[in-house]
């Protein structure tokens, strides 16, 4: 009873050979390190700086991608919505204090165009620790990313966080 390969519409599978993308891969690895640092270091209001103006940011369960269903656990269309989420988490939302650790690995560059658009995937793991509880896996999933280059920097035009951990442990507060 196997499950289907995970493919997101509009994102190429990519070739087996990664050598031509070696330099890009290194650059994306640096991007992930900075992105995760901001989230793990509780600098949520700096999170929007990783996106372009018309970016799409979505977190969704793998079962939705498999069934081609469009819902997002988090669904932001445009930088303004991304900023509103960051502001709400930083200033208005009520939740238990928590620490997060984002781990990103297995980066694969799946396409790169002459115009500077780069598609890539990576596996991620988010560990969450509440004050009175053991550290637990909040999410295990895969990023489907589309980067653009602006002023020499890679920025996200699209990030789809597709998680295997279908049952969320109570709530998901911070972005992935």
């Amino acid at each position: 009873m196997e499950t289907a390969p995970l493919r997101l519409k509009g994102f190429p599978r990519g070739a087996v050979a990664q050598a031509p993308f070696r330099e890009l891969r290194r650059e994306i690895e640096e991007f992930h390190a900075e992105y995760c640092y901001v989230l793990d270091n509780n600098e949520i209001e700096a999170w929007p700086q990783f996106f372009v103006e018309d970016a799409v940011y979505r977190i969704t369960a793998r079962e939705n991608v498999e069934a081609d269903l469009p819902v997002g656990l988090v669904y932001c269309e445009g930088l303004a919505m991304i900023k509103d989420r960051a502001f709400a988490i930083a200033h208005t939302a009520m939740f238990d204090p928590r620490y997060l650790q984002h781990m990103v690995s297995n980066i694969r560059v799946t396409a790169a165009s002459a115009s500077g658009e780069v598609s890539a995937e990576a596996n991620y793991l988010v560990l969450q620790t509440l004050i009175d509880e053991d550290t637990r896996i909040l999410q295990a999933g895969r990023y489907f990313d589309r980067f653009l280059r602006q002023a020499g920097r890679l920025l996200l035009k699209e990030r789809h966080c597709v998680y295997d951990t279908l049952r969320i442990d109570n709530s998901l507060v911070y972005p992935v």
Binding site: T60, V74, A80, A93
Partner: protein, 431 residues
């Protein structure tokens, strides 16, 4: 000794009640303005709830017809904690039956959704048709006249338990009771009216799922949505942007038995005028909070209802969310007194254009386990269960807002609907 039994002896019997305390549990003498901790923590109480409520005379939500539109379509679901299969047979009829093999008890259907001609238990390939009837047993007659099942074994008599099924406007319910009243009678006119405002006859279009575990008693979820008082205080989004503010036109409707409820509210056209006294009462009121993208709060009027927001609690396992234009069902799957899984099924309507679908998806950020409101509810319910679970002695929650009555009301500053629910619950539970 678990938390639940620790302080039981301190609770005296109901004054003037002819109900004897059952299993050592007795309701506090103040009546329904007190909810004793054991309601949320006792394994014994939970098991009685499964027997009398989820497996009793109730209609349990199991899914939407849009999830199983074609003959042969199926989905896994639950009635209380019990796994069931919802399937559509070749003639188009819906069936709900236990997902438990007649042979060794295996939960044989393992895929969340799919399409099948029949169901085969992977262990010994016992086979069930789309109506859940046991129709195949390999080597039933043995091999070379040896082994096999006894001659008088009748497969049909050993099919998994089939449940009663009913649908209304594309929503599927099932019951372990074979002689249930119609769903319309079960809901009663006031509740049915709002049910039909959301399920207005348009065909539903699935948008997707969220699932979360909730480390809290399942009844706390009902209570949260029968508690309009919290909505005016906990949720900055509601309060600040006028979606639900003390003073908005609103109602908390309960059915005559007290088990179902509708919390309804009409969004203010403008940012609400909040006087200084009310501002001081609401710590979550943020005068200067402005959205960069206010589309999340747009309301496209599409329902024949005075309410722009309704949260409907349908006993025992369904919540219908109509928060502006973000729509969904929430199915409670209890796992014990201290935890349940919530399955959220988000939908729109056939005929929604691309812009409307995207509006629903954007607005979806309000709800769900990562929603601006949804995550706060999940956190608050966990805090309640934590407090009760860890309490050194048995105590009771205090529910005196809105007086001591148990009626529908137009004020939001009331807990009457929670008291109504417990009046019904005590009756069914014989407590």
């Amino acid at each position: 000794m678990d938390d639940a039994t620790a302080g039981r002896a301190q609770v005296s019997a109901v004054a003037g009640s002819n109900r004897p305390p059952v299993g050592g549990f007795a309701w506090p003498e103040e009546g329904l303005t007190r909810i004793p901790d054991w309601v949320y923590t006792s394994q014994e109480i939970y098991e009685r709830e499964v027997e009398r409520i989820f497996h009793g005379r109730t209609w349990n939500y199991v899914g939407l017809e849009a999830e199983v539109p074609e003959p042969g379509d199926f989905k896994r679901s639950f009635v209380g904690p019990t796994p069931v299969i919802v399937s559509r047979d070749k003639a188009g009829a819906l069936h709900v039956f236990e997902n438990r093999c007649a042979h060794r008890g295996a939960e044989f259907c393992r895929h969340a959704r799919g399409h099948a001609k029949e169901f085969v238990c992977p262990y010994h390939q016992w086979t069930y048709d789309l109506a859940g009837r046991l129709v195949g047993i390999p080597f039933r007659r043995g091999l070379n006249k040896e082994g096999g099942m006894p001659r008088d074994f009748e497969p049909a008599a050993h099919s998994p338990q089939a449940l009663a099924v009913t649908t209304h406007r594309g929503v599927i319910f099932a019951s372990f009771a074979s002689d249930m009243e119609s769903l319309e009678d079960y809901l009663t006119p006031d509740i049915l009216k709002d049910f039909e405002a959301t399920f207005d006859g348009r065909r539903l279009k699935l948008l997707g799922y969220y699932r979360n575990t909730q480390p809290a008693n399942w009844k706390l979820y009902h209570e949260n949505l029968k508690d309009p008082y919290h909505a005016t205080l906990l949720h900055a989004y509601l309060v600040t942007f006028g979606l639900l503010v003390a003073g908005n036109k609103s109602a908390m409707i309960v059915d005559p038995k007290g088990r179902h409820g509708v919390m309804g509210s009409a969004k203010s056209e403008d940012r609400p005028r909040v006087d200084d006294a009310s501002k001081r009462e609401m710590r979550t009121y943020h005068e200067n909070m402005k959205l960069n993208d206010p589309r999340i709060l747009d309301y496209v009027k599409e329902f024949a209802s005075p309410w722009s927001v309704t949260m409907m609690t349908i006993w025992p396992n369904l919540i219908v969310q109509r928060e502006l234009n973000t729509l969904g069902t929430r199915q409670i799957v209890p796992h014990g007194p201290g935890e349940f899984t919530m399955i959220w099924t988000m939908f729109g309507y056939e005929g929604d254009d691309e812009a409307m679908t995207r509006h629903r998806l954007r607005q979806g950020n309000l709800m769900g386990p990562a929603g601006f409101l949804g995550l706060e509810d999940n956190e608050a319910m966990k805090f309640v269960q934590d407090g009760i679970r860890k309490s050194a002695e048995e105590k009771a929650g205090l529910l005196e807002l809105g007086g001591r009555e148990e009626v529908s009301s137009e004020t939001l500053i009331t807990e009457a609907a929670i008291r109504s629910m417990y009046r019904y619950w005590r009756d069914v539970m014989d407590l």
